[in-house]
């Protein structure tokens, strides 16, 4: 067990309610004033299999779900078999001795086996099997000396006033687990400070959806696909109240094209998917690029290729996002590094999309999309910048695709008098006249084509200025610089702190949230004096390192690639740092 933090791992079979129990526990921790970070390990099955969720809670902000658990809650035998031996020293294992046997000989030093008749205690309150989880959660709350009333408050929020009977049953069951620990005088001897400071507890997907609401999304189309689906769920649940049309479409091709239609119609439009769906969307994305229609597309990555590993994480779709759509068109790619940044980046994406009238891709991965983290309360009062609009009083001057220095042309919205135009997927002239058929290849068209293509691509210059460069975290000068993008930030920083505590070396972290247009100058300046570099990314070929090299000519000295489907843990990175710095 590490000072100032604790990790719980709850394991069972799919359908046992592991994820919801873990969410409850996370909220209890969060409401106690602890920071929390979770990871759900699950499989593409509805019932059965083996699933677990880790809830890490600590006094300081946490960038990831951690590593081995301090407290293991076994809801079935598999959980004991797979995880008991990895419980940290002086940790505890909670289980029902009537259902689960713990391999005691394999346990680390000082690990307590807390035997509670979970099912028997649960039966007093409900016939539902899931109630045994609640007994275990009550026991966990007690082991940490957390205020039981907080559990009650979480139940009230979860079920609402209408379901008092459900609340009573859960509270009773949890109390039984709680009292069992008290009565038997079991303690972890691990103390945490509960500040009771209130924070939000959100997944990356929820943070994106909230960012979209704050930014004024009015249309969202999506086809369900793990791990992006909870964006659809969140917006669908809130659409009626906040006036967002949420359309579950027949496929991702429809989603992106609906978003194009809505964006053309003048509302802020979004779609979300994972790699497979994004692959279907690429033609529609290029259409938006050509029509110069603003939209935001969320790409929540999972293990690929093809169906790949639907419930596993990976950062393998950067090449896909970079290359989506035939021909060249200006796109923005943003990869938020944590849940807080998911909110901020989504707001930024909507503004960039409208300022530059082009698609912005927000990339996450499963670990960020679906994991909960505490965040400071989001500020919903965000800037909303709608970009250049045509002058209704001067219809004679209006050209929808006017060639400008910035590459941005004045835009009109259907319904505006005097500003009708055709947005065409064919190459076109300033007034929208297409030059793909009878004018194709004629001298004036060739010139028009070049001007129009240049105009569109010039938007990248502005977008580059409007986005922040990479962040260098840690000491200015270091023996090793880690280079990462997206959600690798958390484990990378933690690895750096750990290495600094154990060895006399300095490591820093160069982190990218704004991926494209690529900040070459800042990158070159920051890496100019780097002693040694190492790219840390969750894919096979080092897609980000390749982009960095293509944009700057700078190659990484070392690479750490992970593509086993599991998220980076700090120790994976620590091990590699020790290897490249030859630390004993």
């Amino acid at each position: 067990m590490r000072k100032g933090e604790i990790s719980f791992r709850i394991g069972g079979a799919a359908g046992d309610g592991v994820a919801s129990s873990a969410e409850t526990l996370s909220r209890v921790c969060s409401r106690s004033g602890l920071h929390a970070s979770t990871y759900s390990f699950y499989q593409s099955v509805i019932r059965g299999g083996h699933v677990w969720t880790q809830v890490r809670a600590g006094e300081k902000s946490l960038g990831c779900f951690g590593e081995d658990a301090d407290v293991l809650i076994c809801l079935n035998q598999d959980t004991a078999d797979y995880h008991a031996k990895n419980v940290t020293e002086n940790g505890a294992i909670i289980y029902d001795p009537n259902a689960v046997e713990v391999p005691k000989a394999e346990l680390r030093n000082g690990v307590k086996t807390v035997e509670i008749p979970l099912l028997e205690l649960a039966r007093t309150f409900s016939t539902a099997q899931i109630m045994k989880n609640t007994v275990a959660i009550g026991a966990a709350v007690s082991l940490l000396n957390m205020d039981f009333d907080i559990f009650v408050s979480v139940m009230k929020s979860q079920f609402g006033a209408k379901k008092q009977d459900v609340i009573d049953a859960n509270v009773g069951a949890a109390k039984a687990g709680h009292d069992f620990i008290m009565k038997n005088n079991i303690s972890l001897g691990h103390s945490l400070k509960f500040t009771m400071q209130r924070r939000m507890l959100v997944t990356g997907n929820e943070a994106i959806a909230m960012g979209a609401l704050a930014a004024g999304v009015k249309f969202h189309a999506q086809y369900p696909m793990t791990p992006s689906s909870s964006i659809l769920h969140y917006l669908a649940a809130h659409g009626a109240k906040y006036g967002v049309v949420v359309k579950q479409s027949e496929d991702e091709i429809a989603s992106i094209n609906m978003a194009v239609g809505a964006g053309f119609g003048g509302v802020r439009a979004m779609t979300a998917t994972s790699g497979g769906g994004f692959s279907l969307m690429v033609e529609g994305l290029g259409l938006a690029g050509m029509l110069e229609v603003p939209l935001v597309a969320v790409l929540a990555q999972r293990g690929g290729p093809s169906t790949g590993m639907p419930t596993k994480t990976e950062q393998g779709d950067l090449n896909l996002a970079m290359g989506a759509g035939q021909g060249d068109w200006p796109r923005g790619i943003i990869a938020p590094r944590n849940q807080q940044e998911c909110f901020d980046a989504t707001v930024k994406a909507f503004n960039l999309a409208e300022i530059y009238q082009t698609p912005i891709i927000v990339m996450t991965d499963l670990i960020l999309s679906e994991s909960y983290s505490t965040v400071e309360t989001f500020d919903f009062n965000v800037p909303i910048i709608r970009g250049l609009r045509a002058d209704e009083t001067k219809p004679d001057e209006f050209k929808r695709y006017l060639v400008t220095e910035s590459g941005v042309s004045p835009r009109s919205i259907p319904g505006q008098k005097g500003l009708v135009h055709i947005a065409g997927s064919d190459e076109h002239l300033e007034d929208g006249t297409l030059i793909s058929d009878v004018l194709s290849g004629l001298p004036s068209s060739i010139e028009g084509r070049i001007k129009m293509h240049d105009k569109r691509m010039r938007k990248l210059k502005g977008m580059l200025k409007d986005t922040p460069g990479p962040e260098l975290w840690g000491p200015d000068r270091a023996d090793l610089t880690l280079v990462s993008w997206g959600a690798t930030q958390g484990p990378a920083r933690e690895a750096i702190e750990r290495v600094a505590g154990e060895h006399n070396v300095k490591v820093n972290s160069l982190e990218y949230c704004y991926i494209f247009p690529f900040h070459s100058d800042e990158t070159a300046a920051l890496l100019k004096d780097a002693s040694m570099t190492m790219a840390v990314e969750g894919n096979y070929t080092g897609q980000f390192a390749r982009l960095l090299r293509a944009e700057t000519g700078i190659g990484m000295d070392h690479h750490l690639h992970k593509y086993d489907g599991e998220p980076f843990e700090p120790r994976h990175i620590v091990r590699k740092i020790e290897e490249v710095l030859k630390l004993g």
Binding site: S30, R31, R198, M200, L201, M210, L213, A214, A215, G216, K218, F219, H238, G239, A240, K241, Y242, G243, V244, V245, V246, K247, S249, E250, D251, I253, A254, N257, M258, A259, V260, G261, A262, G263, G265, G266, V267, A269, G284, L287, F378, F380, N381, V382, I384, I413, P414, G415, K417, L419, V420, H421, I422, A423, S425, D426, T433, L434, D437, V438
Partner: protein, 291 residues
């Protein structure tokens, strides 16, 4: 369609000359659409015509109205997004049989079951024209094309039957050789509240030597001249399956009282999306819920 506001009749013609072959059936469709929009006294800036790709999908360029000349097969999803964003527009989808019944068939079916208040005009020439003469989803059995030199060996799609099965609330067929009849059908289609299909037999004079004006002229007849009851879905099914010596045109079916998607959309309680204020004025509930 959206309600006309100022009651004036506007000219919807544009200065862009159509690029279709002389004699192409699509000219009649364009004329009928011009006439319809003018007759219904719609304002050009409150009309949007959305197309896909193909000869017929060039149509938006030949109208004065807002328009999207989109990508192959995706006219209906684009039209759907636009209509949902701004239900105060009259939104018309347009394209060919390859666009709508081939690559876009999935969207065709799903858009019909949604019953959005949009009109979809399919210029059905039973061939791929722009790609120089391959078989289309409505090419008849045995027809020889560049891609089927031994003749087509799969059954054609029956758009009328497919529309009936998919829950379209207005289903019609026109013929480019009957300009007057086509204009009447189109006006009724645009006027209909809900999804309306106008499948137009629109001969390709260059690549389809089978389904020509002369092929259709002796066969087509107008349902409305034969006491067909447009409210009788069983009668509509019977007529939908008729194709041979006699080919029905006119309105096959018009459902009454079916709510449109827009009428059922929960988010519209807050007003049309385009007219709403952006952002969250009071985020208290959202924050509390996430605690």
């Amino acid at each position: 369609m959206a309600e006309a506001i100022d009651g004036q009749a506007y000219d919807f013609k544009s200065g862009t000359k159509p690029t279709w072959c002389p004699g192409c059936g699509d000219y009649a469709v364009l004329n009928a659409l011009h006439k319809t929009l003018t007759n219904l006294k719609l304002e050009p800036w409150r009309v949007a015509v959305i197309s896909g790709i193909g000869c017929s999908s060039n149509l938006p360029h030949f109208l004065t109205a807002y328009g999207v000349h989109g990508i192959h097969g995706r006219a209906l999803p684009i039209a759907t997004g636009l209509k949902l964003a701004n239900p105060e527009l009259t939104v018309i989808g347009a394209g060919g049989d390859g666009d709508g019944y081939g690559i876009g068939a999935g969207h065709f079916v799903h858009t019909m079951r949604r019953n959005l208040d949009i009109t979809y005009i399919v210029m059905d020439n039973q061939i791929y024209g722009l790609t120089t003469g391959q078989a289309s989803p409505t090419s008849m059995m045995k027809m020889k094309t560049k891609s089927t030199p031994e003749g087509v060996i799969e059954n054609p799609i029956n758009p009328i039957a497919l529309a009936l099965a998919s829950g379209a609330t207005f289903i019609s067929r026109g013929f480019s050789g009957d300009a007057k009849g086509l204009a009447e059908i189109m006006e009724a289609a645009v006027r209909h509240k809900g999804f309306s299909l106008v499948d137009v037999l629109s001969p390709c004079v260059t690549y389809n030597k089978n389904n020509t004006y002369d092929y259709f002229r002796p066969k087509v007849y107008n349902l409305q001249k034969e006491n067909h009851d447009v409210k009788d879905i069983e009668a509509a099914w019977k007529k939908a399956l008729e194709w041979g010596d006699r080919i029905p045109t006119g309105i096959f079916y018009e459902a009454e009282g079916v709510p449109t998607y827009e009428e059922l959309e929960p988010a519209y309680k807050q007003g049309p999306p385009l007219k709403q204020r952006l952002g969250i004025a009071d985020p208290k509930d959202l924050i509390e819920e996430a605690m």
